[in-house]
Symmetry: C2
């Protein structure tokens, strides 16, 4: 799962209204405010990522109507200068700033404004990327490649990689796959964008999503013109039995193996209900199997896709198993969807053929399985250490979800989430509160429980930082 | 320039109406025909790339109204089973077919149905990809990379590559570039898609395009909701002085250094007229500098972008200078466009960070310049050999355009283009006729001259095939 908001980029403090010395000029108040804000972003006075004051508080500071500020914000969001995201307020967009390359040594070194310990969800342990084995695979792949591997590729992706995945996925994830159903894409977000476009082209109006999840993916769907009614998630996963009661829903986006970010596994009857719904309604299940390789307490449950390959789009990715920087993910499609996805791709391959050939070689040579085995052991040990440390030092904190994946949910006492996140930040610990993963709408007939929680990525820190991160985490627990 | 139609993929012969044994069933004739055609594609009886008979001739064969066939075709095009392209008729879409990896040796070996000599435009000489130097750069880049290079990257692209390009492009192409204006994308088509989306978001309604060009790019623009009025191209390039007379045009897509595919260079006063128009109208120039590195008779003319970096979007690519398979291209943007392009990218990097780091290292180490120098010599020698051979063996054929790039235009006697392309195909020679690059509309007030011509890519064949290709080309000249 991509979590670009979970990047190790610094998270500048919120700008207070008082800091925002805006020179209002221009004919109208709104235009003047818009111009002043735009100029402040352009000349760098408002840095990328800076959180702006709420429209209410800036309006009070400036002595203007709240709508004037809200409209100015809306305009600058439309222009791309600002971004707004539920739960995170209005921020200066991450635009180009002239940054020089970091030196190799600086990877783990805390710099000013940068958290010392990054436990934000979304990333595997980047320090463990198997550089040597990857280079060896690249050398073998590049040496053996036919000349035409350097040309414009098959729009579905290199056949070598699709063949390797069609061998690996059935074996490792119970996916029904043949090379002609596998389509390579540049990350899950790319794949979801393609599927969303195809669904919209088929006149689908809505795609149900889980009531906890990553907002960017909802944005991808709404950006394609689809509504995203939420499906209630409880301790058994998404209530797929409610699908039939959601009007106009043509597909559902699920994380069955390991709900993101609550960490629960979809109960078998809920899996069956999803497939039954898809068959009865002609709908599609979009199965985001972002970390299905990592299960620690038992053999991983096979992908839902195996139940009905013609009704499930399976999404897998190298972003958790290897590294997000590869920008390689894959879909296994119902056969009838392949031509439409190819058309949505613009009939061209998007991912580097050399990188695809390298991953194909990496998988075929067994290096992928070895890497996954090694990482499974490491991540499992980290999770055990986390659970043990909390049990001893913060026994009131409940660790929920199945033993799997890269992150864990820590349930906090009511009303403490925000202060814990802030206390963590003060100790250089970047963690994510549950608030921004919640997704509910007024007319759904239910409300999510008021559960304060932290989503903690125990996989990400390099070994050298893990003990410190764990200690800091325990210290900020209420 | 991407030319996915110029792939070395086989071009199956047109299916005659008689071959198309369709079983019509279903309630209505049209539905029955649609189903029968879909089924024929699905079960592989109609292979990918197969050209279907014209709707007129199939209607006659089946004894149905022409509109019935045309409507069935339109439906299947909308569904993604068929594709239609001006000048190339209706074809079966290139959908997934289970193809096994070609063995390394087979790269240059003619196979059944595959042309012996591929002179289709769009690809550099893939046999000359500098594998060893590329691997060496990958090793250095991967060894030196900070850990976070494997994470979710900067949406604008790796800063190392943007910095290397900001050094290279001013030096080699006269581009005004700073790292914060450079945005990496996955090929020109990706970049154009992003810019088209931003233009549409700015309420631009039309982007003027050259009256000769690659239809896929027009499709990208129209797909974003933009009209594409043509700009007349003569022997001095596009008539940019006409821009002011085209209503509602907010941008113009140009190939100033080497018009594609006529090969002419944009005359200085036309370059100035384009910039004047952009300044006066607030419009943008989209400069596709697809092969600007390759000029053989003089120093290359600098990019138009240098004239006004705030009014020109410069596009460069590794697809011609190195290999399309890398899927790496770059834009240099007017500063104010950067945040909108970042938003259009979905705030994520799309290209592999390892590949980007490798290219950055390849450029910084001087290997890129060395490779370009070597290829310039080779391509120039090929072009000289082609011109000399034609002068001797087909003196009636005129070679037009400046001595640059990878392809050349051969002017043919009136009415011979089609038969020459067919005669070439019979000798295993894949060449492209000018017809499918022509773009005119009824209400433009002008018509393109009825010039028969071939677009010949002399760069693409491997050395072992070049003498044979040249001989075959001379033989089919009228």
């Amino acid at each position: 799962m991509t979590d670009s908001w979970a990047n190790p980029a610094p998270d500048p403090p919120a700008a207070s209204g008082a800091d925002l010395l805006l020179e209002l000029h221009g004919p109208g108040l709104r235009a003047g405010l818009t111009d002043a804000l735009r100029e402040a972003v352009r000349n760098g006075r408002l840095a990328a990522g800076t959180r702006l004051p709420s429209s209410r508080s800036l309006a009070v500071d400036l002595g203007v109507a709240r709508n004037t500020v809200a409209n100015a914000y809306a305009e600058l969001i439309a222009e791309g200068w600002l971004t707004a995201r539920q739960g995170s307020g209005t921020r200066v967009a991450r635009r180009a700033t002239p940054r020089r390359a970091a030196s190799p040594a600086s990877g783990d070194t805390p710099t000013r404004g940068r958290p010392t310990y990054g436990l934000l969800p979304g990333s595997p342990n980047l320090a463990e990327f198997p550089r040597t084995q990857w280079l060896a695979a690249a050398r073998r792949a590049l040496t053996a490649a036919p000349h035409d591997a350097f040309g414009y590729g098959d729009a579905l992706g290199r056949v070598e990689l699709r063949t390797a995945l069609a061998d690996y996925l059935p074996r490792a994830r119970g996916v029904y796959a043949t090379p002609e159903r596998v389509v390579v894409c540049s990350g899950f977000q790319h794949g979801l964008t393609l599927v969303a476009r195809v669904l919209r082209g088929r006149r689908v109006r809505a795609v149900a999503v889980e009531s906890y999840g990553f907002g960017v993916y909802r944005d991808v769907l709404t950006g394609a013109g689809l509504r995203t009614p939420p499906l209630y998630v409880d301790e058994c996963g998404a209530r797929t039995d409610d699908l039939a009661r959601l009007p106009g829903v043509g597909a559902v986006l699920l994380t069955p193996a390991h709900q993101y970010p609550t960490g629960v596994a979809l109960r078998p009857d809920r899996r069956a209900a999803a497939v039954d719904w898809a068959r009865a309604s002609g709908g599609l299940i979009l199965e985001d199997d972002y970390d299905g390789e990592f299960r620690y307490d038992r053999q991983p449950v096979g992908a839902l896709q195996g139940l009905d390959p013609e009704r499930v789009v399976y999404f897998g990715t190298a972003s958790k198993s290897l590294a997000p920087g590869l920008r390689l993910a894959w879909m296994v499609l119902p056969e009838e969807l392949v031509p439409e996805i190819e058309a949505a791709k613009g009939h061209i391959d998007w991912a580097s053929s050399l990188e695809q050939l390298t991953l194909a070689e990496f998988i075929s040579s067994g290096a992928y399985d070895r890497h996954l085995r090694a990482m499974r052991l490491r991540y499992r040990r980290r999770r055990d250490q986390l659970v043990a440390a909390l049990a001893q030092r913060a026994p009131g904190i409940r660790v929920t979800g199945v033993a799997a994946g890269l992150q864990v949910l820590l349930e906090l006492p009511r009303g403490t989430e925000r202060s814990v996140v802030e206390a963590a930040a003060a100790r250089g610990l970047a963690v994510r509160g549950m608030a921004q993963f919640r997704y509910e709408v007024a007319d759904s007939g239910w409300r999510l429980p008021e559960q304060d929680a932290l989503v903690v990525n125990y996989a990400a820190p390099p070994d050298s930082a893990w003990a410190g991160a764990l200690d800091a985490l325990c210290r900020v627990m209420p």
